[in-house]
Symmetry: C2
Subunit: 144 residues, 2 copies
Amino acid sequence: MAPDLHEIAFERLAIDGQRYTKNRKAIVVILSDAGRPLSLADLLQSGDGLAQSSVYRNLIVLEEAGVVRKVVGTDEFARYELAEDLTEHHHHLLCTGCGAVEDFTLPSRVEQVVEAALATAARRAGFRAVDHRLDLVGLCANCG
Amino acid sequence: MAPDLHEIAFERLAIDGQRYTKNRKAIVVILSDAGRPLSLADLLQSGDGLAQSSVYRNLIVLEEAGVVRKVVGTDEFARYELAEDLTEHHHHLLCTGCGAVEDFTLPSRVEQVVEAALATAARRAGFRAVDHRLDLVGLCANCG
DNA sequence: CTTTCTGCAAACGATTTGCAGCAGC
DNA sequence: GCTGCTGCAAATCGTTTGCAGAAAG
């Protein structure tokens, strides 16, 4: 975990007029330690007595502040990870068997090609791109 | 719409022991005409008196038969489109403002690079890739 | 005829929300 | 202290399911 992670989180929340409370810090720590997107159940299990509704509410606040990103997989559960500029650029392996989500990275040469092609496509469509998702869907090592 | 689209749909459903009924045909026609992923509300509006539960059930059947694909956007509504081998390989523009989903394509040179890189990444992770998603997230021309 | 599909209405479950009390500054 | 956060429990709403009758073959 980056040493200034909490400082950054604090600042981004401050911009939105939000506090960096104990619960919010706990969520950031858990996500930072996980190294993969976590579902609500994961967070509740890892956290110490966090209330479900508070976690949902805090995830929304953290997402709006740009500290956390929501990841939609193949099952019915939403998952969350730290914002990409707080970790490193990566993609997801989405298992259709168990719903698990794992991270992976691509060579920077490939990223550059994709980046350029997407920028062109977005411009052509009059679309203001903020982010992109490049995920693999299939069966993980356990389910395959 | 491909002339043999209904024949293909019929055959794929038959493999699963399913019938290609009037309702299912109607869904396929609507999706084929749309040229973009449609939400349930879109389908109910376009269809002529289709029951909500039947549409949901038929979409599941059609998805299992490989005729239809579910597309997850940025809003709370699931969307559906024809399977990729019945149309052409494409990607999605996901608008975070209004939730709209539009199609776009990339140059085949880019697709090849991505395809190869993903195959390598999947092999390395012991992941059996079935499909990939490469979508742009941002604001569409109307919301931007 | 038999099996599958359909439509209605009721059930389900992840997520959201109202409210009273507590914590942060 | 005042404002915003928390936890509990109830509400919301897209989606799923049970069942009796209709359609496909």
